[in-house]
Amino acid sequence: MTRQTKQTAPQQDRLVTLLIRLSGYSSILLVTLIFIFLMKEGLPALADVGIGELFTDRWYPIEGYFGILPLISGSLIVTLGAMLVSVPLGVGTAIYLSEVAPSSTREVVKPLVEVLAGLPSVVLGFLGIIAAAPLLRRLLDLPTGLTAFAGALLLGLIAIPTIVSIAEDALNTVPAAYRQAALAVGATPWQTIWGVTLPAARSGVLTAVMLGMGRALGETMAVMMVTGNAPTLPHGLDALFMPVRTMTATIASEMGEVATGSAHYQVLFLIGIVLFLFSLVVNVLASSVSFRQRKRAERLLS
């Protein structure tokens, strides 16, 4: 029997290795192709429309104004707002689940939170239009409830499950010995969480925040439905309570009606490139943080 496995194993191994290698290469190839396509369609805008024209504050593509600053700022406002909502709530929930809640609660709540992550964002957007926006309009006495604030709240909700799930895993991997050691010298449970457990899980929690941010930045449907879609450059702090339009929403709503190869078409692809760069930065930050964590884990083992 041993002999048999010895004979067949290498062949099977080669086949499996080949398949795995092919799938690995194909995903790299696809990403490269997408990237090349994006560049090919979008970069000419830099020359055709001109950089000076692109970085202005007027987005009226029909009349030939292609200022993308309002869209970038729209995305940034909504994403940062979403982070203000989701980071405290998400990390707080993760701490509660991992450090405070009895295990029976954790076993019920964690799967629920993860189910929430799978909720289609269009459903949340619908909820935002029907329930959240009118409520906000009445509560805050605004001309319209469809504002950056509504978008931020909704995106925050969308990012929370991601943050909770990953941050909770990170907190869970903190060795029990740390907690015991801190408690044994008279730390209160809260001092232990704040001074020992959370710092020990820092990089995992940061990764969670970054991934949540990536999720919020790339979200299209929900923000398109609730942010009011007005491509204006904000002036002052009340911008949060004005309608805005994000890069994702612009691409999604205008791509269908442009002529292929026109300046408008090229600029939409350029926005895609900008969005891609933003996501890239967030992801690189996230992975550099988690890479540092791995190095430290190796030190712990040695």
């Binding site: 907690r179 015991q180 050691a181 801190a182 408690l183 010298v185 209160t188 020992v196 030190r299």
Partner: protein, 252 residues
């Protein structure tokens, strides 16, 4: 010698219905080394963790009996657990440095008490490290990570962390089970000097260590305290046949 702990009919059941302590009654004298020994699963660790209420963290289903510390019942819900743990420190079997520098590890307990004065912290760190016989090896690299030390050094670092708080009692739960013979010898040697200042309760990881370090000894078997008394009585003329057999190495 007066007694610092008086334990009366202590019973403890974990949530899996495993009765870890079955009616234990004993006294632990001040400024002496009390050894809790016996085969694994005898309830030694459980008893240690009752003495500073670290068992609050475990899945304990039921505790009954009385554990008096200076006459105060530790099992009472009104006990200030944080205060208690400062007076009754513990060192675990596996070295558990915090992910901090050597200096911050040692003064962690003081910092969370709110001590900010640098001079006080410096003094406590040096005293703790000296008492744990680690000062000479680390005084020039106090800012290095606690994980940069060897296993034996890490264990002494954990001891220094406990001692920096100037507790009354030091609990040691198999403190040398993960260490080499030389580190073990250093820690045993240290215990002999420390007992002038502190009360030490240790669950050693073998019977030889129990016999080497004990002033008082208590033999535990499956949650029962078989007998306890001073070193000569337990190790030279044990009253119970099971104690005798365990000491002679016939089981365990």
């Amino acid at each position: 010698m007066s007694d610092i702990f008086e334990i009366e009919d202590l019973r403890l059941t974990y949530s899996d219905n495993n009765e870890s302590l079955r009616g234990v009654s004993m006294r632990i004298p001040e400024h002496a080394i009390t050894v809790l020994f016996g085969p694994a699963g005898g309830g030694k660790s459980t008893l240690l963790r009752v003495l500073n209420r670290l068992n609050d963290l475990a899945d304990v289903k039921q505790v009954s009996g009385r554990v008096l510390f200076h006459g105060q019942d530790l099992l009472s819900p009104t006990v200030d657990v944080v205060e208690l743990r400062r007076k009754v420190g513990i060192v675990f079997s596996r070295p558990a440095p915090l992910p901090l520098s050597i200096y911050e590890n040692v003064c962690y307990g003081l910092r969370i008490m709110g001590e900010r004065r640098k001079a006080r912290l410096d003094e406590a760190v040096e005293r703790g490290l000296r008492q744990a016989m680690l000062w000479e090896e680390v005084y020039d690299r106090l800012d290095a990570s606690g994980f940069a030390l060897s296993g034996g050094q890490q264990q002494r670092l954990c001891l220094a962390r406990t001692l920096a708080l100037q507790p009354e009692v030091v609990l040691l739960d198999e403190p040398t089970s993960a260490l080499d013979p030389i580190s073990t010898a250093r820690i045993e040697e240290m215990m002999q000097t420390l007992k002038d200042v502190y009360t030490i309760v240790i669950a050693p990881h073998n019977v030889q260590q129990a016999a080497r370090v004990a002033d008082q000894a208590a033999f535990f078997l499956q949650g029962e305290l078989i007998e306890w008394g001073d070193r000569g009585q337990i190790f030279v003329r044990p009253r119970d046949r099971r104690t005798q057999e365990y000491i002679e190495g016939r089981f365990g």
